[in-house]
């Protein structure tokens, strides 16, 4: 059995070497060939193909440019998406009214009410006219929002200023660091009325009717003043809190009195005349508030720039700083630098 297998292996090896009997027998088989007609057809096809010249390979362009095209498309898409992201984030940042995303633990600027321009205390009618002219200034969004219903705002501001004065007094008794920490919370409470639902509708109604004040708005501002006082009192003595609440109530009464006083006189006249007749103290406070709000927005923008720098987003910070310079060219440089340096870089 093993010998037979051995013979088979030897015969197979000989066959692989060539010249085996099996190959000779196979060669002796009838040698079939393709027909002449088939030969002619194939050769004619080969000649036709040569005469037709080199054809472009189907899909050759795509195959050749597939990699460069796909890389270029990827780069374009990436650049477009990144630039779109940065543009949207910047615009949203500037449009954003809610700057309260500033963390509470970050140091803030000193109270805005301290920077009152001396020329505000000039002739009251001219200041009132300036206030109305600001209404048409579209670039200053913050002011435009605050002048839609002047008398109503004046009454609200009066009560808010009273509460703020009391809170400033309370804060003045505190160390500087704690006062800086608490400033954003006060700003948050003061800005809250601007986001109250249904306010725009009320403002439209007021503008249509002349200068009828909105008691609800006054009530809201009064509530906020009280809330502000309550928040300020948090962490302090209860006596201070009670004082703040009392002062808030006083300011509420004063605002209601001012409302009652001006309603008959201003119901049938335009905004400008009504504003001219407003008491000097009220207009003065209103102007102070507008400047304060404007300054507060600038500070918050600076804080955001500082935060960008601290987290390593220098490109966004530079772009935002450029816009800041355009928007607030008169902002004090020393204060700006102080705010910008207020946030230390994040160490990882």
């Amino acid at each position: 059995m093993s010998e037979q297998k051995h013979d088979q292996n030897e015969a197979f090896d000989a066959y692989l070497q060539g010249g085996h009997e099996l190959s000779e027998r196979y060669a002796s088989l009838s040698a079939e060939h393709p027909s002449q007609k088939l030969d002619d057809a194939i050769l004619a096809a080969s000649r036709r193909e040569v005469e037709a010249g080199p054809k472009s390979i189907p899909g050759g362009f795509y195959r050749k440019w597939k990699t460069p095209l796909s890389m270029a498309a990827t780069v374009l898409l990436s650049v477009g998406l990144v630039s779109l992201y940065y543009r949207q984030s910047d615009e949203q940042m500037l449009r954003e009214k809610d700057y309260l995303a500033v963390p509470a633990e970050l140091p803030s600027a000193p109270p805005a009410s301290t920077s009152v321009k001396p020329d505000v205390q000039q002739d009251l009618p001219s200041i009132a006219a300036q206030g109305l002219n600001r209404e048409s200034d579209k670039d200053k969004n913050i002011r435009a929002d605050s002048t839609s219903s002047d008398i109503e705002q004046l009454a609200a501001m009066a009560s808010r200023e009273t509460a703020k004065a009391s809170s400033t007094r309370v804060e003045s008794e505190l160390p500087d660091e704690e006062r800086l920490i608490r400033a954003p919370a006060v700003a948050a409470l003061e800005q809250k009325p601007a986001r109250m639902p249904g306010e725009k509708k009320q403002k439209r109604e007021i503008q249509g009717r002349g200068l009828t004040t909105n008691p609800q708005s006054i009530a809201e501002s009064d509530d906020l003043s009280a809330l502000s006082a309550t928040v300020l009192a948090d962490g302090y003595s209860k006596e201070t809190a009670r004082q703040s609440a009392e002062e808030a109530q006083v300011s509420r009464r004063q605002a209601a009195a001012a409302q009652r006083r001006y309603r008959p006189a201003t119901a049938s006249r335009g905004d400008k005349d009504a504003l001219q007749e407003a008491p000097a103290a009220v207009v003065h406070k209103y102007m102070r508030q507008s400047d304060a709000e404007l300054e507060s927005a600038a500070k918050k923008l600076l804080l955001r720039i500082s935060r960008y720098r601290a987290t390593g987003h220098f490109q966004q910070a530079d772009r935002l700083l450029q816009r800041f310079h355009q928007r607030y060219p008169d902002f004090p440089a020393s204060l700006r630098e102080r705010i910008l340096d207020s946030i230390a870089p994040v160490v990882r």
């Binding site: 088979q8 015969a11 197979f12 066959y15 692989l16 009997e21 099996l22 190959s23 027998r25 196979y26 060669a27 002796s28 088989l29 009838s30 040698a31 079939e32 060939h33 393709p34 027909s35 088939l38 030969d39 057809a41 194939i42 050769l43 096809a45 080969s46 000649r47 193909e49 040569v50 005469e51 080199p54 054809k55 390979i57």
Partner: protein, 188 residues
Amino acid sequence: MSDQASDEQLMLDYCAGDAAAFEVLYQRHRGGLYRYILRQCNNARIAEELYQDVWLNLIRARQRYKVQAKFTTYLYHMAHNRLIDYYRKTSTSLPLSYTEDYNEVLNNQAADAGDEPEQRLAGSEQAEQLSLLLQQLPEAQREVFLLKEESGMSLAEIAEATGVGVETVKSRLRYAFKRLRQAITGAS
């Protein structure tokens, strides 16, 4: 000049636009390729159709031709692929002999049957015997035997042309040789 040129050079000349080079190349391989296809499909009409397809595919693909192997390997690889397409078109699957473990099945069958082919074909003419026995071989074994005899390729080249390993080719060829040799020795 073209008669002494290699197949690869002739094909390159044809790619460059020399139609005469293709005629030389065609004459060299027309018989072997035709017989390989004819004995694989056992139908002259189908064989001519497949044979024409192979050459026309070669003509169309001339711009993509690169000398990466022997031209014979390239040509028979195209023919093998065309035959596989034909098998798949005419039946639901490839013939069983193309599976890798088919040789083991054959080994068991041969052990059960003993020398049956030798006894059955003993009285026929030798050429007819061989032709008949060749038709009885499984497709994969017959293909390897035909490629060896018609194209003169080595085992490695056959393996490259058929897309299988060298050992598989050797095994198939061994079984084919064993069966054909038994018939021949029995006949003689």
